[in-house]
């Protein structure tokens, strides 16, 4: 009997389940978000199917979205180390 004060999450099986489901949820949320954003960039008039050019646009959009996110995180990290403004770091 585990009485470490965590209550319900003392069950390791439940704990793991929660972590896995949370991760899946984060994934789903990002798919929702990227689909919405990339729809604006890639979709013209909805047709009878997704043509290959549009599909490629969506794939590129996902990749560039993640690249953008990583770029921003990296620059934020650098500027927090006292290197000044965002655009100053571009001269490296």
């Amino acid at each position: 009997v585990n009485m470490d004060g965590q209550g319900v999450t003392a069950d390791p099986q439940l704990q793991q389940f929660i972590e896995v489901e949370s991760q899946k949820q984060r994934f789903q949320q990002l798919v929702h978000q990227m689909t919405e954003v990339c729809w604006e960039k890639c979709m013209d008039k909805p047709g009878p199917k997704l043509d290959s050019r549009t599909e490629t646009c969506f794939v590129n959009c996902v990749e560039r979205f993640i690249d953008t996110s990583q770029f921003i995180l990296n620059r934020l990290e650098q500027t927090q180390r006292g290197r000044g403004s965002f655009s100053e770091t571009m001269s490296e």
Binding site: K24, V31, M34, E36, M43
Partner: protein, 101 residues
């Protein structure tokens, strides 16, 4: 379906049964939330509804005419196609990132 005690700390018999029930309920709730994400308005317009309204409805009339309805139906299918494409692309990217570590 023998025992419905809510003793989560036991880890034996009855405790495991409740864990399983909890898991099932959580999965159902997540599935419902996911569908709502696409369809229902929360504090901002629902994604699919919003996008298809924008693509298909010009000047709002007294009802949805046939061409508008056809457009919305096609738009829904294309939105799900897009969602699946994005899901696959994101999954590939995540796998590539993990392979690098």
């Amino acid at each position: 379906m023998d025992n419905f005690t809510s003793d989560f700390s036991s880890g034996v018999g009855s405790g495991k049964m409740d864990t399983g029930t909890i898991m099932e309920q959580v999965k159902v709730q997540i599935a419902v939330a996911n569908a709502q994400e696409l369809l229902q308005a929360s504090n901002r317009p629902a994604r699919m509804t919003d996008k298809c309204f924008k693509k298909c409805i010009g000047k709002p009339g007294g009802s949805l005419d046939n061409s508008e309805q056809k457009c919305i139906a096609m738009c829904m299918d294309r939105y799900m196609d897009a969602w699946n494409t994005v899901s696959r692309a994101y999954n590939s990217r995540l796998q590539r990132e993990r392979a690098r570590i």
